[in-house]
């Protein structure tokens, strides 16, 4: 059975119609203004031209946008959950031919602003093809990779940026959390899988917060959660202060490679649950196997669109064959981001 959660499901209490109506009108009044403020906030990462375009957007509400795509010589594009929209100089939606075409200066300027004029500080991230902005938004970067002895040294001639807007949607995790709890109320070793843009990170963030704070209704007491946030996306750390609420009992190791971070975390912070994003490297798997022997429960995500696909990815297949994970949550975009296709009990193969 597929479960589908959207914000509206969480938000729609139909018991008191008058109150709801009042709330809705309030939302209507504050909605466009708030959207303009959020757009202006996002626009600060770009140079003059794109900044004014994003600042002028009135037709597209900010909360609908998932990505802002800036490709050299191509029209400026924003992606919502189901549409690609091209923008002209006035911030209006138009056809690709009439849209604003991105220039080299736009990309240079954007990169400069996104790194605070400090490309060297984002060196390690750039090698992996992304940047993390303060606030947890992630920017994908492509260009020409410079290799030294087969290793990527840096990225030059940046040709495209993809600003992915991070969302902090609370409440989704609560729906699947009961399925992830074992017999003694302990969180099972869980892996969340989905193709890109399906809401893995958002769901993981929510689960971390719930486990950390505890959910008395489910008999789950708060547990110490160690988060190894290699890409700085989960907590959105900004000079040691997390942008997202990850709960009272969460320790975040920011920007640390997962393989090293996991053992550091176990040694130093004694977590009961360890959370990390995007498992996939052989080193990560090796470190994970080591951590498992210390009695820590694992909560992680990986790229794969189905359980079969996960079994075909060599690194994940090894983990699944070893029976490391007890639960697998498969997410998709069938009904928008965050659609939960199914929760599997990997020990019995049942769908929960």
């Amino acid at each position: 059975m597929s479960l589908h959660y959207t914000l509206s499901v969480v938000q729609a209490p139909k018991v008191k119609p008058t109150k709801v109506a009042a709330l809705q009108t309030e939302a209507c009044i504050s909605g466009p203004n708030q959207s303009a403020v959020l757009w202006a906030d996002m626009a600060r990462w770009f140079g003059e031209d794109i900044r004014s375009i994003l600042g002028n957007i009135r037709v597209v509400p900010f909360h609908e946008v998932e990505e802002i795509r800036v490709r050299m010589g191509q029209p400026l594009m924003i992606r919502t959950s189901d549409k690609d929209l091209f923008l002209d100089r006035e911030g209006e939606v138009t056809s690709p031919d009439k849209a604003y075409h991105v220039k080299r200066e736009d990309l240079t300027c954007a990169l400069e602003r996104m790194t605070h004029s400090s490309v060297y500080a984002a060196e390690e991230d750039l090698k992996q093809g992304f940047l993390t902005l303060s606030g947890g938004n992630r920017v994908g970067v492509t260009g020409e990779a410079v290799l030294v002895r087969g290793q990527i040294q840096t990225m030059k001639h940046i040709s495209a940026l993809n600003l992915r807007i991070a969302r902090n949607i609370q409440g989704r995790g609560l729906k699947i959390l009961p399925l992830l709890l074992g017999t003694q109320g302990i969180v099972c070793h869980t892996i969340l899988i989905s193709p890109p843009r399906a809401g893995k990170t958002t769901l993981l963030r929510d689960l971390i917060r719930l486990i950390s704070n505890g959910v008395p209704g489910l008999g789950l007491t708060g547990q110490t959660v160690g988060v190894v946030d290699e890409r700085g996306e989960l907590a959105g750390m900004c000079q040691g202060v997390p942008t997202y609420d990850l709960g009272y009992r969460t320790d975040v190791l920011d920007g640390c490679p997962k393989a090293k971070g996991m053992s550091m975390m176990v040694r130093s912070m004694a977590p009961q649950v360890m959370a990390m994003d995007e498992l996939g490297h052989a080193d990560d798997v090796e470190a994970l196997m080591d951590v498992l022997r210390t009695g820590v429960q694992i909560l992680s995500t990986a790229h794969a669109s189905s359980i079969e696909e996960a079994r075909n990815r060599p690194t994940l297949a090894h983990l699944l064959d070893q029976g490391v994970f007890e639960r697998m949550v498969v997410l998709s975009r069938k009904h928008g981001p965050g659609t939960i296709d199914g929760v599997y009990d990997l020990r019995t193969g049942r769908i929960l």
């Binding site: 300027c109 004029s117 400090s118 490309v119």
Partner: protein, 169 residues
Amino acid sequence: MLILGCIAIIAGCGCMGLWSANRIRRRPVELREGLMALALLDTEIVWGSTPLPEAFGVVKERTDTPWKEFFGELQERLQRGESASTAWQETILAQNLHFCLKKEDWQVIRDVSKGLGQSDSTEQHKRLELVQRQLALMKDQAGIWSEKQAKMWSYLGFLCGIAGVLILI
């Protein structure tokens, strides 16, 4: 009245001489302080991978006036979203009146702006090191000359005053 006028002229010229002497004495001190600031910035970039706005903040905290104001303004400009190289050049234009440095010193310091923050840390280190080496040379030269010149200017001011008075009388 005449005597008072004479004294005023001599005192005026003397003060100007002393002021110039003071400026000359301050130049090597400011160059040394600048060198230290660049070394700090270098450390922040290479070892701390600290983004420039934050790094400028650290340098600001650890230097004295007028470099404190210099890095303070840089930090503000970067936080406003200016690019590092423009901010560096603009700050030089805005702040150079508060310094006793010469035009050639500023030319070397301006070189820092070229590619500041735009490459990896090794490259940044190389550039900063080059500027530091040039500045160190200038500081050494300034150190040798400044004492002699400062002494000369402090005398020269009064002597010019006396000469002026003699001519006027």
